[in-house]
């Protein structure tokens, strides 16, 4: 079943005289339970693609369907409603509210849906246990490390069981240890919860945790790599190879 289906996405910025086309007709489908990475050099349009797919930004033309519902036709209010129930987000800079504790931050998406307090607590305990952040639940974001912040952010993305989770460079601000910790957790959650994850990254290591990598160049899909049955190491090497062919600056990390 296609959980996400995007056809001929075009996105351009600027006015008629000075138009810059960022996405030039991209087609993407994501199956339920997939962990997809989108890679590309700076300026290739990967973040724009993620924003468009996650309804934060609007496309110039083309259609996006999530679970068969066409999002491109929705109004702002419907979109907000849709994001609330069907989408989860993990951002590079965590995007936690400083004024709330870890637990309050995580429970935020549940507060709008009519979930009873007991259910909410149950869900919180489950996801917190999986991500190992139970001890810090009463701390404020400025009292915890970057890795813990990102796991909090991930917990928030998973708690309401969204159809699809978008992650924008989730490891971008983390050291390599915290990064691989987080990615391990993400792929665990991906397998245990059958959660669908779409992640934008420029880090081949991060990408190697996923099951499929889509390479983008100049607003178009350049190629795709499937992990299949191979090990993470070999998949990582494939990604590196493709990336150097792609001509983007190879990432040192």
């Amino acid at each position: 079943m296609h959980i996400l289906e995007a056809n001929k996405l075009h996105k351009s910025y600027g006015n008629k005289l000075n138009k810059q086309e960022v996405l030039k007709g991209i087609d993407i489908t994501v199956e339920k339970g997939e962990f997809v990475s989108i890679m590309g050099a700076s300026g290739s349009g990967k973040t724009t693609l993620l924003n468009v797919l996650s309804s934060i930004d609007k496309v110039s033309s083309g259609t996006i369907k999530i679970e068969g519902k066409e999002m491109t036709a929705m109004k702002e209010k419907q979109l907000a409603e849709f994001r609330k129930h069907h989408l989860g987000f993990i951002f590079q800079d965590y995007n936690l509210l400083d004024t709330l504790t870890v637990k309050e931050n995580i429970l935020l998406p549940l507060s709008i849906t009519k979930v009873s307090k007991r259910d909410a607590d149950e869900k919180f305990n489950a996801v917190a246990a999986e991500l190992g952040i139970q001890e810090i639940k009463d701390k404020y974001p400025n009292e915890i490390s970057g890795g813990q912040k990102q796991r909090t952010s991930a917990a928030r993305a998973f708690i309401h069981g969204p159809s699809i989770i978008f992650a924008d460079e989730p490891t971008g601000a983390l050291d390599s240890k915290s990064a691989s910790d987080l990615l391990n957790k993400l792929s665990e959650l991906n397998q245990n919860r059958k959660a669908t994850i779409v992640m934008v990254t420029h880090d081949p290591v991060a990408a190697s945790f996923s099951s499929r990598v889509i390479f983008i160049k100049d607003g178009q899909i350049y190629t795709q790599l499937n992990k299949g049955e191979q090990s993470r190491q070999t998949f990582f090497k494939d990604i590196m190879k493709t990336q150097s062919v792609l001509g983007g600056v190879p990432n040192e990390r």
Binding site: A80, F82, K84, T99, L100, L107, S111, Y140, N142
Partner: protein, 647 residues
């Protein structure tokens, strides 16, 4: 891009942001200029004669400068902190500090002196209106015409230039003290936001609430008889002031976040969007804003209290005059009365006449007097005015009984009378025991006989005759007959009043006119009300602006939060609902606390000022609340814009 261009661009951007600052500045300049113009205006001589109008206005203008300069310095402080990043950036690209200072100075110069010129212009055009308001309130018949006063202009310009120099000095010190690094950090260092609650804070909160309540409690006892000497009274007042102000501070410092924390603990992490935006955000800022909110609350309370009191006395002017005169006019000399009656008749003014014999008798009131609160009188021989029940309609007392009538709340506070008991009337030779039946509110004779507000005793005709035969001449007043004249048609009042004044009665004490007394009262209280009113308005606007600026800053700071929340799928409407709740707290808490403070302040001493309390107090409070809410609304509109731009 040249420096001039930079200044111009900054100016354009700032004007949009700081329109309220510009408005407040223009308003205060205009008001100050108008006040100073009044002070130099020859028309004020009229007021000057009786109650030193110009001096009062001068004092008001000094206070006005005080309020305005604190406001301007504070607002400037907020603004420069907000622009610290920009200043840091200039430094980073190699601009010297003195150059940055010059840019800021030039920018401020246009903003400030532009407003100053507009303000003076507006001030000049409204000064006539203000004078007209003054005349209207004080009931004077002068024609409001104004000349442009160059002295006023010079004074205004000098005062505001001095304030400008102060602002510049502050900016200079601010820029001088900062390094590039600290400039980038300034915002985060001033808001030491996220901290855990401690026991200490809870204790502070509880102490705050207790000291406010104890202040209120003492204030309700202030004139209740527990504090008898002047020193005790003074001490009690100081205590009330201190405990309420300190309590308010501690309340903001601890109680609010303490109470919110309890709510939050109970929620156990499960906050809804309203609570996210209001509860958690207020909790942490409440602490850093405690001092500011205390000041705003205290001065709001002061403004509301003073406005209420002066309005109470203005409002009760007529009532008090009625009590004083007991009729439209009162006279105590038969010949004066005859002449006045003739005049009235000659002018076709119909009237009723009411003559009452009043004698002064020493009475033993020991049994019915509650406490005397340090009043220097002997309860066993109090000189009391006495009249016969024949003189009063609707009241008929038996020979062995008496009713007192005509009391005011002020006297009641110092000399409370019990509901019933036995008293004795002492003549020269005999002592008549009487049964005291109670106290009535009506005033039947003028203040001349009652020493300003003492109740008078009504006794049976026969008892009255006996007392009259037996009076002690030493304590009698010059006259023992009250002649009250009440016009049949209220419309003739002014005309009759003029006639009485024209008669040239030798001594002021010999007659009193309701209209005259009420006008006199209105004149004095009107001027005070006028001054307090405008000062209160200035304070309202400046404090409202400061709260608004604070909210503007907070809104900018919380913009990333709104971005997150909107990405998570909260609609603008959801966020706005939370903001509503937040602003109700932010503006409501100081307002409600201020209203409570002023309520208790007014309740403790209003009877010293007039006879009506509820209507004038509620009118003042409602108007104040209404004007104050405008700033809350403006801030919500601002937040709406921020939320709109957040995604």
């Amino acid at each position: 891009m040249s420096v001039n261009h930079l200044i111009f661009r900054n100016l354009k951007k700032n004007l949009k942001n700081y329109y309220l600052y510009v408005f407040a500045l223009i308003f205060s300049v205009a008001l100050y200029f108008a006040f100073v113009t009044l002070q130099y205006d020859p028309a004020m001589n009229d007021t000057k004669d009786s109650i030193k109008g110009a001096a009062a206005i001068k004092a008001a203008s000094v206070l006005l400068v005080g309020i305005v300069s604190i406001f301007l310095l504070y607002a400037n402080n907020i603004f420069i902190k907000r622009r610290s990043k920009e200043i840091g950036l200039f430094q980073l690209i190699g601009m010297t500090k003195s150059k940055i200072f010059r840019i800021l100075t030039a920018e401020n110069f246009f903003l400030y002196f532009g407003s100053l010129i507009i303000g003076i212009f507006i001030g000049f055009s409204i000064s006539r209106l203000i004078l007209m308001i003054l005349f209207k309130i004080t009931g004077m018949d002068a024609v409001a015409s104004l000349n442009f006063s160059s002295e006023a202009l010079i004074q205004t310009v000098v005062v505001f230039c001095a304030i400008y120099l102060f602002i510049m000095l502050m900016n200079y010190v601010f820029i001088k003290r900062q390094s590039i690094l600290s400039l980038f950090r300034v915002v985060s260092s001033t808001e030491g936001k996220v901290k855990k609650m401690s026991i200490f804070e809870i204790i502070i909160g509880i102490i705050g609430v207790i000291s406010i309540i104890s202040g209120y409690y003492i204030s309700s006892k202030l004139f209740g008889g527990d504090f008898t000497t002047m020193y005790e009274l003074f001490g009690a007042m100081i205590f009330i002031l201190g405990s309420v102000i300190i309590g308010t501070y501690l309340f903001y410092k601890g109680s609010v976040s303490f109470i919110f924390n309890l709510i939050r603990k109970k929620k156990d992490g499960y906050l809804n969007i309203n609570q996210v935006l209001s509860l958690s955000s207020i909790m942490f800022r409440m602490k850093s804003n405690a001092l500011l909110l205390t000041i705003i609350t205290t001065v709001s309370a002061l403004a509301i209290g003073l406005l209420s009191l002066s309005y109470i006395s203005y409002y009760s002017a007529e009532k008090m005059a009625e009590n004083q005169v007991a009729g439209d006019f009162s006279l105590i000399k038969t010949e004066d009365a005859d002449q006045f009656k003739k005049e009235l008749a000659a002018n076709d003014i119909p009237f009723n006449e009411n003559k009452i014999d009043v004698i002064q008798v020493d009475a033993n009131l020991k049994e019915i007097l509650g406490n005397l609160n340090g009043l220097m009188v002997d309860p066993k021989a109090m000189t009391t005015p006495v009249i016969s029940d024949k003189a009063v309609k609707n009241i008929d007392v038996a020979p062995g009984e008496t009713i007192f009538t005509g009391y005011n709340d002020l006297l009641q506070k110092f000399m409370s009378l019990k509901d019933s008991g036995n008293i004795e009337m002492k003549g020269q030779n005999e002592v008549i025991p009487l049964k005291y039946l109670g106290l009535k509110k009506d005033f039947v004779v003028s203040g001349y006989f009652t020493n300003g507000g003492q109740p008078i005793a009504i006794v049976d005709e026969t008892v009255f005759e006996r007392l009259k035969e037996d009076v002690n001449p030493a304590i009698q007043k010059e006259s023992s007959i009250f002649i009250g004249i009440t016009l049949k048609d209220e419309a003739d009042l002014e005309k009759a009043n003029d006639l009485l004044i024209k008669m040239n009665v030798s001594d002021d004490n010999y007659f009193s006119s309701r209209l005259e007394i009420s006008n006199m009262q209105k004149k004095t209280m009107g001027l005070i009300m006028f001054i307090v009113g405008f000062l209160g308005l200035t304070f309202l606007i400046t404090s409202g602006c400061i709260l608004y600026f604070k909210q503007m800053g907070e809104g900018e700071e919380e913009k990333p939060n709104y971005t997150i929340l909107r990405k998570l799928g909260f609609t603008q409407g959801d966020l706005l609902k939370g903001i509503h709740a937040k602003q109700i707290f932010n503006f409501g808490i100081p307002l409600v606390v201020g209203l409570f403070h002023s309520y208790f302040a007014v309740q403790s001493g209003w009877f010293l000022f007039g006879s009506e309390v509820w209507t004038p107090m509620i009118i003042v409070m409602v108007i104040y609340t209404g004007l104050y809410s405008i700033f809350g609304l403006l801030s919500v509109i601002y937040y709406k814009k921020v939320i709109n731009e957040a995604l």
